[in-house]
Amino acid sequence: MDKIVVDNLTLQYTDGTESLRGVSMAIPANAITVLFGPAGGGKSSLLRCFNRLNDLADVKTVSGRVLLDGINVLDPAMDVVALRRKVGMVFARPVVLPFSIRGNVTYGLELMGIRDARRLEEAVEQSLRLAALWDEVHQRLDDPAIALSGGQQQRLCLARSLALQPEVILLDEPTSGLDPISTGKVEAALQELKKNYTIVLVPHSVQQAGRTADFAAFLLQGELVEFGPGKDLFTHPRDQRTEDYITGRFG
């Protein structure tokens, strides 16, 4: 069953760069779908269409549809605030808000107006456990979040999104600045999370793509070149360009 269906999506920025050209794909639920490819391929742009974060950028034209559970999120009448709670995002550089660890996790809930202390505490513990961070921080939840290491901060960002009980989690090169151990922890958390969430990941290396992908999409200069189950795509790519990229002939 497909969670997100992209239907002939084309996107162009005001500075003339065309970021996406007629991309169509179906992203299955409860699995990790990886969008990989060389820089400028449109991976981040596509990701940001899913939660309408592209509204903040200088987009000139966008056409086509992005269906989430059958509803087009690109529709101007869409309630973007509700959408963004349903589709969470983790960015490349861990950006912790200037609050405590607890404050970071509860921020999204407080935005919704939730003030019940018990409910907030439950959310904090649940989210931090899901992000595999609870054991490391549960005794210092009131410390400033900035004091955490890079890897911990990134998992905190994950917990922050999880607190809103989303259905989809978008991750844009989440481990690009992290050491291998932290990277491993994040990848392990994602493997657990995919049982209940739909995960779309832009990896920072082909190797990470190969490790984590249940499904993979190869994007080259705004075009979707190939899409398929991870195992198949990485061992027997159908398109020559895909094979060239995976084997490192260009990057």
């Binding site: 709670r85 950006v95 999204g108 935005l111």
Partner: protein, 304 residues
């Protein structure tokens, strides 16, 4: 590296000697130049420092509890300057009351809402112009609008409103800068978690900008507290038997008081003049120091 002077090595040693001579001259020029610039810097800073110290020395003996808390008598030649101190305090408060909310809101508009168009440019030009208008012209304007047209009369209200408009550009600029210094990433994160623009501003951006805004506000108020011309025709009075009762009363104020006692009161004891100047300086420089302390402490405690 020494130059061989023997004639047998003529061409090489000549050029080396020339090279050394040039660089010696250049170094001497530099030494003189550096010394001259240092002297200039010293000449800029030292005299006015001496000035402040001189006032402290001359005015210090006049400072006493009676001086600071008592009312004046004998045509100002004796007694204390409490009404002037209180007046300056009221004026500063009044200025803050009007200029801070308006200024911070305007800064929020410029930093978070405004787009790059003609209107925004017009606003920025207007701010720069407000900053450059001579203080006495503000006094004229204040008199024309608040004292006469709106019939507030010569009062704390008129003077505060006049000073507020004068202080507005300072606060707007400082606040806008403080808001822009907050990392853009915070806004993106807040929006991605479902926050609206105002929620993002109120919960993340503004609180982080508070130290910078506060510094700007204090520096702006410091200037307002020390100004005489804007209050000359809008609120300041020289000899008032009582402290002001309401915002519609005129008031004494330290800068105006100093001006009058140093130029228009015959037989004014020098010590009282210096004492008044000292109190004014302490008031103003105290604010400056507070702003500096806030600024450096905030920088150290920043969470980004």
């Amino acid at each position: 590296m020494s130059v061989s002077g023997s004639p047998a090595a003529a061409p090489a040693s000549d050029s080396r000697r020339q090279f050394r001579a040039t660089s010696v001259r250049r170094r001497r020029v530099q030494r003189i130049g550096f010394a001259w610039l240092s002297l200039m810097a010293v000449a800029t800073v030292v005299p006015i420092t001496l000035v402040v110290l001189y006032i402290v020395q001359q005015g210090g003996p006049a400072i006493s509890w009676e001086f600071l808390s008592g009312l004046p008598s004998d045509g100002m030649r004796q007694g204390g300057i409490l009404p002037a101190i209180v007046g300056t305090f009221y004026l500063t408060l009044g200025t803050a009351l009007f200029s801070v909310p308006l200024g911070v809101a305007a800064a929020v508009y410029l930093a978070e809402y405004a787009q790059e168009n003609v209107l925004t440019r017009a606003i920025r030009v207007a701010i720069i112009n407000l900053a450059g208008i001579p203080s006495v012209v503000y006094g004229l304007f204040g008199m024309g609008l608040f004292v006469l047209f709106l019939r507030f009369g010569t009062s704390i209200l008129s003077a505060s409103l006049t000073l507020s408009i004068m202080t507005l550009p300072v606060i707007i600029s400082a606040a806008e800068e403080a808001l822009r210094a907050v990392p853009q990433a915070f806004r993106t994160v807040s929006v991605s978690l479902g926050g609206s623009r105002w929620q993002t501003i109120a919960r993340v951006v503004l609180p982080q900008a508070v130290p910078g805004i506060l510094t700007g506000v204090i520096l702006g108020l410091e200037r307002a507290a020390g100004e005489t011309a804007p209050i000359l025709f809008t609120g300041a009075a020289f000899f008032l038997p009582r402290l002001p009762n309401s915002p519609l009363d005129p008031t004494m104020a330290l800068p105006y008081h100093l001006f009058v006692i140093s130029t228009q009161v015959p037989g004014m004891p020098l010590q009282i003049q210096y004492g008044t100047a000292l109190v004014l300086i302490v008031f103003v420089l105290g604010m400056n120091l507070t702003a500096t302390v806030i600024r450096s402490r905030a920088r150290a405690r920043r969470q980004w």
